[in-house]
Symmetry: C2
Subunit: 188 residues, 2 copies
DNA sequence: TTATATACTTACTTATTAGTAAGTAAATAT
DNA sequence: ATATTTACTTACTAATAAGTAAGTATATAA
């Protein structure tokens, strides 16, 4: 699985954004890590916002891949939930990355406005999928919770985003504690 | 309540950090808003990290004030909880600021390392106070929840931090939904 | 074989950044 | 009355930022 230069640039940018935010990396950083010159990055992504859009689109594809994998592999709703939460686990494991949505939400007002619809679509699709899982799981008696499935999905998304951030300050044990509380609230 | 130049600088920096992050504002931005020159800001805070430290310290004082006010005014644990949550409400009302901890956690690895202990102290003191409230409330039968009060406190802190971020993308209704789910989980 | 598209390079511009040095006017202390 | 501290100013530096223009080597297409 060797990446093209273009794919490598996207992967490096994604990493920078989730490590330090959109405003804390430069084309020079990417170029240095890749062993090319500044202008090579501009060749593939003329403006920084083009690169950002590519990162968001990659994340959309990544999430849709998870959805497909879950559809064809997971039998229980807990398995589906855990596959969703694994996205956050993977970020934690990769040097305490925060989730893309959390990182970009903090920087949101500094981003070109035409990026917001893409980010909105990403968050909505995550929330919608999770709400559907929660709703069906409750109907089948596998999960239990009060209130709407959409609100519960929003709570889980925001808790996990916040947990990755809190883990940076208080340590990874805090992340595990939050995650297990969330699951406990659904299954007990 | 007219602020000194120094206090104004701190307030403006706090606002910038919670609006756009630490790496998206400059001394020039502050100076322009204040109607002074760049070097005037450096006079009060020689390095940017000095200004950041002052912002964190202000937040520590602000939280301690809330604790004192709560101690002498709130009779129920729900009142204490709501006073805590009001900190987040106030950020939402101020042009969708995210919480300071959430903003700085995202930028954490770009900050001077000596700032981390101060941030750690702030988060710990918030979590500890909230855990104590939750624990006593559960002992008195006012709240109900599973697991340790510390883990539940961590969940609430991360959920609220995440809720402010999600609200930027999905709208403020989402924030209210998340918050009421959190309260419902404690009181039902 | 020749033309063209791809994937870069070197070299540059313009803007912005944090930070400093030296000067000044006004308030305060001696 | 004089000295000193406070709160700035102007004027600057060195570094870094995004972005562009023009050139080049290689692969591909006509």
């Amino acid at each position: 699985m060797t990446l093209s230069t273009k794919e490598s640039i996207i992967a490096l940018a994604e990493n920078h954004i989730q490590q330090n935010g959109y405003n804390a990396f430069s084309y020079h950083d990417i170029a240095r890590q890749l062993g090319v010159r500044n202008a090579a990055v501009h060749y593939h992504f003329p403006k920084k916002e083009d690169l950002l859009m590519a990162v968001v689109e990659k994340s959309e594809r990544h999430f849709q891949n998870m959805v497909e994998t879950s559809r064809s592999n997971d039998n229980t709703y807990l398995e589906k939930l855990n596959r969703f939460l694994k996205i956050y686990d993977d970020n934690l494991d990769r040097q305490n990355r925060v989730c893309l949505v959390g990182a970009l939400a903090t920087d949101l007002f500094t981003l070109p406005t035409h990026l917001r619809p893409a980010l909105y679509r990403l968050v909505e699709s995550m929330k919608d999928w999770l709400a559907e899982v929660l709703n069906e799981a409750r109907n089948k008696g596998e999960f239990m919770f009060d209130g709407s499935a959409f609100d519960r999905a929003a709570l889980i998304c925001s808790s996990m985003a916040g947990a990755l951030q809190l883990a940076r300050v208080l340590g990874n044990k805090e992340y595990e504690a939050i995650k297990s509380q969330l699951i406990k609230d659904l299954t007990k």
